[in-house]
C-alpha cells in the first residue's frame, strides 16, 4: 500500500504544500490555509485528487473517533520577560 499523503491528528510534523495551499498536521487539528485554483485541466485533476485524499483521510479519522463538542487548548502561562 502506498504511503499516506498525511496521517491526520497523528503527529505534529507533517507539512504539505499544494500550490499556494499549506496543509499542516497537528494533534488537535489539520490546518489548511492559502489559496489554490483547481483548473479544468490535468494539473487541476491532480490537485483535486490530492485534496480529496487529504480530506478523506481526515474525515475517516474523525468518524472513527469519539469526539468532544469542542477541542480544548492548553492555556499559555505568563512568565517574566528574561530580556528586560
Amino acid at each position: 500500500m502506498a504511503k499516506k499523503i498525511i496521517n491526520p491528528f497523528k503527529n505534529e510534523s507533517e507539512s504539505l504544500q499544494i500550490g499556494e495551499l499549506t496543509v499542516e498536521n497537528r494533534l488537535d487539528r489539520v490546518s489548511i490555509y492559502g489559496s489554490i485554483d483547481i483548473t479544468r485541466d490535468k494539473a487541476g485533476l491532480t490537485i483535486a485528487r490530492q485534496l480529496k485524499e487529504i480530506l478523506d483521510l481526515t474525515l475517516a479519522e474523525l468518524e472513527r473517533s469519539e469526539l468532544p463538542e469542542k477541542i480544548a487548548l492548553v492555556p499559555a502561562e505568563t512568565v517574566d520577560n528574561p530580556f528586560t
Binding site: E12, S13, S15, E24, G34, S35, A72, D80, N81, P82
Partner: protein, 265 residues
C-alpha cells in the same frame, strides 16, 4: 590619575567593542558583509547558539527556545529555483541544540499557535534547505491569523523585491517586549512582535517591517536604527550608520487574499 582613567576607559571601550564586534559566525555567506548580527541587549546572548544551514543561518536562544534571528541572502537565481520546489516537509526538533535548550514538537501541540517560520520555506531552492527550514530552531509561536495573513504578505513582498533588485540580505526574527511574556508547552516563549529587515547592497539602502504578533495587526515600516532600539539587535553591523538611519521605501504588503482578489500575485 586622569591619564590613568583615560587608559582604563580606553581599555574598557576596546574590550566592549571587541565583544560587540565579535560576531563569530560559521556561515558568513548568509550575512551582509559576512558579519552576523550583534546583540546590543546583552541579555539576548545568554544560551545563544548559532546554527548554520545551507541557505540560512540562525541564532537560537535556549532561554526562549526560539531563534533570535534567521538570516538569508536572497538572489534572483535562488528564488527562481525556489518557485518550482515541491514541498512535503516535516517539522523537527533541532539536533544541533541540546535537549535542555530546544523546542520539541509537543511544546507547540494544542497551544493554538502556528509554528511560524522565520526563514520562510518558500525562499528555499532545494530539497535539503527546504527540509532544514522546518527545524523548530527556525520557528516561533505565531498567532495563526498573523502567520497566514499579513506576515505571509510581508514574506511575499520581500521575495518580489529580491527578484526585482537581484539580491537582498534579510534578517528575520522575534522581539520579546514587556514585563511579562506568554509561554507555551512550559518552555517556548511567545514573541510580542516580529521583524523582517532588508538590506540592498547594490543600492545601499535598508529598512524593516515590524508587526505585532497579534490578530488584526498591520506591518509598520521602520529604519534599521529604529529596529535596533526596539529589538536590541544590530542586524546589519557591516552597514554604514547613514544607511541604517534612513528607512528605504519598502513596498506595501498585501495579504494573500487581497492579492487574489485583485487578480495579482
Amino acid at each position: 590619575m586622569k591619564s590613568l582613567r583615560v587608559i582604563f576607559l580606553a581599555a574598557f571601550l576596546l574590550m566592549t567593542s571587541t565583544i560587540v564586534d565579535a560576531a563569530q559566525t560559521n556561515c558568513p555567506e548568509h550575512y551582509a558583509g559576512s558579519q552576523a548580527p550583534d546583540f546590543i541587549n546583552h541579555k539576548l546572548s545568554f544560551k545563544a547558539r548559532e546554527v548554520c544551514y545551507s541557505e540560512f543561518g540562525l541564532m537560537h536562544s535556549g532561554v526562549t527556545r526560539t531563534p533570535l534571528y534567521s538570516a538569508e541572502h536572497l538572489t534572483l537565481d535562488r528564488l527562481t529555483l525556489a518557485k518550482s520546489m515541491k514541498r512535503h516537509s516535516k517539522f523537527f526538533p533541532d539536533p544541533n541544540i541540546p535537549v535542555s535548550e530546544r523546542a520539541e514538537l509537543h511544546h507547540y501541540a494544542r497551544s493554538g499557535y502556528d509554528r511560524g517560520h522565520m526563514a520562510p520555506s518558500a525562499d528555499m531552492s532545494d530539497e535539503k534547505s527546504q527540509q532544514e527550514c522546518f527545524s523548530l530552531a527556525n520557528m516561533v509561536p505565531q498567532v495563526p491569523e498573523n502567520n497566514r495573513g499579513p506576515w505571509e504578505g510581508i514574506e511575499s513582498a520581500v521575495r518580489k523585491l529580491a527578484k526585482d533588485r537581484g539580491e537582498l540580505y534579510i534578517v528575520t526574527g522575534p522581539i520579546f517586549k514587556g514585563e511579562k511574556l506568554q509561554r507555551i508547552g512550559g518552555e517556548v516563549m511567545v514573541p510580542t512582535l516580529l521583524f523582517k529587515a532588508i538590506y540592498d547592497p547594490k543600492r545601499q539602502e535598508a529598512g524593516a517591517y515590524l508587526i505585532d504578533n497579534a490578530v488584526g495587526a498591520q506591518p509598520q515600516k521602520i529604519s534599521i536604527a529604529e529596529l535596533e532600539k526596539i529589538s536590541g539587535i544590530n542586524v546589519f553591523p557591516s552597514v554604514s550608520q547613514r544607511v541604517r538611519t534612513r528607512a528605504m521605501n519598502l513596498p506595501d504588503t498585501r495579504a494573500h487574499k487581497e492579492r487574489r482578489q485583485r487578480g495579482g500575485r
